[in-house]
């Protein structure tokens, strides 16, 4: 008998792929670099994503609160004048490090704000890639109430 379980699994997988809007994806980093999303350390995640190390630079600006009362909603803003092609946000408070990876399209301005959540106090690190070089900035955010139910 053909393995019914496997067969179903395949069908589901194919369905998921076909449902993803393929015409939209320029780079979906979750598919391209699956390992980067399970890395538990910031350095590891950066290495998985970009294949090299980042150097701290003043050209990258990171805005985040010093103290976040609610870890579930922490506004983080990355801005830079670098002609970067990729921007990534990491933190070291949650089980996995990678939070978000942006691809900077043509005409894109590096000034991204997102809201993230952190389980406890930790460092937020942002990385901007310009011409194959990595520039980073990081900041400690004190979390008084955990965002991941901590």
């Amino acid at each position: 008998m053909i393995n019914r379980r496997n067969f179903l699994g395949l069908g589901l997988g194919a369905l998921a792929v076909s449902m993803a809007p393929s015409s939209l994806s320029a780079i979906d980093f979750r598919k391209e670099k699956p390992k980067a999303w399970t890395a538990t350390k910031v350095d590891e995640a950066i290495n998985e994503l970009f294949g090299k190390k980042a150097t701290p630079s003043k050209k990258v600006k990171l805005k985040a609160p010093d103290i976040a009362e609610n870890g579930a909603v922490i506004p983080v803003t990355v801005s830079s004048d670098l002609a970067g092609s990729k921007v990534a946000i990491f933190q070291d408070a949650n089980p996995e490090s990678t939070v978000a990876v942006f691809t900077v399209p043509k005409g894109g301005i590096i000034d991204y704000s997102v809201r993230i959540k952190m389980a406890k106090t930790g460092n937020v690190t942002v990385v901007v890639e310009e011409n194959g070089k990595l520039y980073s900035a990081s900041k400690e955010v004190k979390v008084t109430i955990g965002g991941c139910g901590g």
Partner: protein
Amino acid sequence: MAKKTRIKAKLKKGVVTVKALANHENLSYQEAERAKKEANFITYVVAKVNGTIVYELSSSQFLSKNPYMKFSFNADAVGVKKGDKLDFTWVDLKGNTRADSKKIK
């Protein structure tokens, strides 16, 4: 579950600034366990104007609930005018997707 994404897009001095609030629970694995629900979160977001990508984000479970995103881009480089439509699409872990569009003011 997938409600409309609230979008504001404004063109000013050649720069389009977009603010978007996606409606999504964004449950991380830890939170999902506590709430006895399945983890599900937005994994990919893309915004386009006239078919040109202006914003692209791959994200993990650690975006906040109902994630808010703000970004801007150079209108001239993409050839965007007022009144053009901004298409905003997200995809989550389960493959759900939601597309909304808004006119640029």
